[in-house]
């Protein structure tokens, strides 16, 4: 009986975290889309050199940073996937959200500082190890976006 009960609790936790996780993910994507639309005018370029015709007054480092974690259900799904191999699809939305959010934050910082464009944009990812257990688990990832903000003339 205990075993069955444990099983039911486990399944319901999985389902609950699925529902909550999906809702949060959905909300986040919506917010990302709206903000991307708002900051559309800000150019983010990966060139390290500016085009010849660009005239600019000041430059500075701008960066955006996010730490984000996966829900229990998707982690379970990823664990299942590691048994048989193949693309871990449940991680994809997480990484996509993290990268886009980091770039957005970088853009928002650049806007608030009055820059018109960002050149030499770069992304860096690092994994945050879980503090519990053996330390091998992943509690979340950090994505850092950074680049050089430019104030353009004319």
């Amino acid at each position: 009986m205990d075993v069955i009960l444990q099983f039911i609790i486990y399944i319901s936790i999985l389902f609950m975290t699925y529902c909550i996780g999906s809702y949060i993910e959905h909300r986040h994507f919506q917010s990302i889309r709206i903000r991307e639309n708002q900051t559309r005018d800000m150019m983010v370029i990966t060139f390290s050199q500016t085009p010849e015709e660009w005239k600019y007054t000041s430059t500075d480092l701008v960066c955006g940073n996010i730490v984000i974690s996966l829900d229990y259900f998707k982690r379970f799904l990823a664990a299942l996937r590691t048994l048989v191999g193949g693309p871990i699809k449940s991680y994809e939305p997480l990484l996509d959200r993290a990268r886009r959010e980091a770039i957005l934050r970088m853009k928002e910082q650049a806007l608030s500082q009055g820059y018109d464009a960002i050149i030499n944009a770069r992304l860096e990812t690092s994994r945050l190890a879980s503090s519990g257990g053996d330390g091998k688990g992943t509690s979340g990832i950090e994505v850092l976006a950074f680049g050089t903000g430019l104030k353009l003339l004319g």
């Binding site: 559309r40 299942l80 996937r81 996509d96």
Partner: protein
């Protein structure tokens, strides 16, 4: 200058497969593969487990027994000795019995008993509390003896160990939460014996009952008590589909007994009282056969007639009762017996009683305190 960057495409970097769909496909696939592996393992274990020598089992026993014994309190230990004697008595009817049985009591709300390697039988406290006669307990122990005879316990153990090894080999037991899920699955499969194994054990237990008591009364008490009591817990067993239904098991017992012409009528033997203090005697050595299970009553010591009390100075002092609680032979004229009775009444007296080394003496709590104190040697 004005740029017009395009918005990122949502669909490129994120797969559009629904996560629930993926989960279901993966779960079904992995479940069917692990079932296949488990069936293959179980098949080989069933062939190889009975080949494990008894000496290896004895080593396993000493490990397990130490752990079980630690968890038992004094009262449970005394009950364990009771049941141990009962199990070993039953085992005398099994000519090739390779084990010396030990009985451990574990605390559990579900009435159940388990056969572990090396002759270790675990009985739950709830089963012991609900049992009303020695015959009822004897059948449960006989059933477990049946598992020992068919070496079912080794098959279950082997399956469990191999499955655990498999899980740790995949690396599930650490880190991922999947490990706990797999552990749950293992619990579901590990403990259960097949329908066939249970039926064989039932029939073996029944034949032991017939040989020990000459009748089968009390053998079905355990099952009859199940529906209203703890066997509602057997939903796991029903779920796993390995335990024959209780009703079916009783029906099969009746059918088998009828085929053999064994009777279900006879007197029930008493189970020894449970809430009693016990005194450890340290006297002369005695062989296993001279096991004593005495009860004290009305200032006298009564011994079960079944047990040989050779070599015990106490023999002449007591009257004997049979295992059905009736006096068989009284020694009212015996001076020593009279003395003991007298001494039991007058508080500070110390009757001289000795008992085999390591044997335990049970005295019900309704005894006069004088006897309790005076009996220790």
């Amino acid at each position: 200058m004005k740029a017009d960057p395009r918005l990122p495409d949502d669909t490129v970097n994120v797969s559009q497969t629904h996560p629930l769909k993926e989960a279901i496909i993966l779960l079904i696939g992995i479940a069917s593969i692990s079932t296949l592996i488990f069936v293959i393992i179980a098949f080989f274990v069933n062939i190889t487990a009975p080949l494990i020598p008894y000496s290896v089992e004895a080593k396993l026993l000493s490990l397990a027994w130490k752990r079980v014994e630690k968890t038992m309190d004094t009262e449970q230990k005394s009950q364990g000795v009771n049941l141990k004697n009962l199990a070993n008595r039953l085992a005398t009817h099994w000519p090739d019995n390779p084990y010396t049985y030990h009985v451990g009591i574990i605390h559990s709300p579900a009435a159940n008993a388990f056969a572990l390697s090396g002759g270790l039988i675990l009985v739950t406290s709830s089963l012991l509390e609900s049992a009303e006669s020695e015959n009822e307990m004897a059948f449960v122990l006989g059933h477990e003896l049946g598992h020992f005879r068919n070496r079912d316990h080794l098959k279950a153990l082997g399956r469990g160990i191999l499955f655990k090894l498999l899980i740790s080999a995949i690396g599930l037991s650490s880190g991922a939460n999947l490990g706990s899920l797999a552990g749950t699955a293992e619990l579901l499969t590990n403990r259960s014996f097949s329908r066939k194994q249970e039926r064989a054990a039932d029939i073996f237990g029944l034949s032991l009952m017939h040989q020990e008591y000459g009748h089968l009364k009390g053998s079905d008490d355990f099952f009859n008590r199940l529906p209203e009591e703890a066997y509602n817990d057997s939903s796991i067993a029903d779920f796993a589909g390995t335990h024959p239904g209780t009703q079916q098991r009783i029906a099969e017992l009746y059918e088998f007994a009828e085929g053999k012409g064994w009777t279900w009528n006879g007197p029930l033997a008493r189970l020894l009282p449970q809430n009693h203090p016990f005194i450890d005697f340290d006297g002369a050595d005695a062989s296993l056969n001279s096991t004593l299970v005495p009860t004290a009553k009305c200032g006298q010591l009564h011994f079960h007639r079944k047990y040989r009390s050779d070599g015990l100075t106490v023999k002449s002092l007591v009257s004997t009762v049979d295992r059905y609680g009736k006096c068989q032979k009284q020694n009212p004229c015996n001076r020593s017996s009279w003395l003991l009775r007298q001494r039991a009444r007058s508080a500070p007296a110390r009757p001289r009683v000795s008992c085999p080394r390591g044997r335990q003496f049970y005295i019900p709590t309704d005894q006069p305190a004088s006897l309790l104190h005076s009996s220790s040697v």
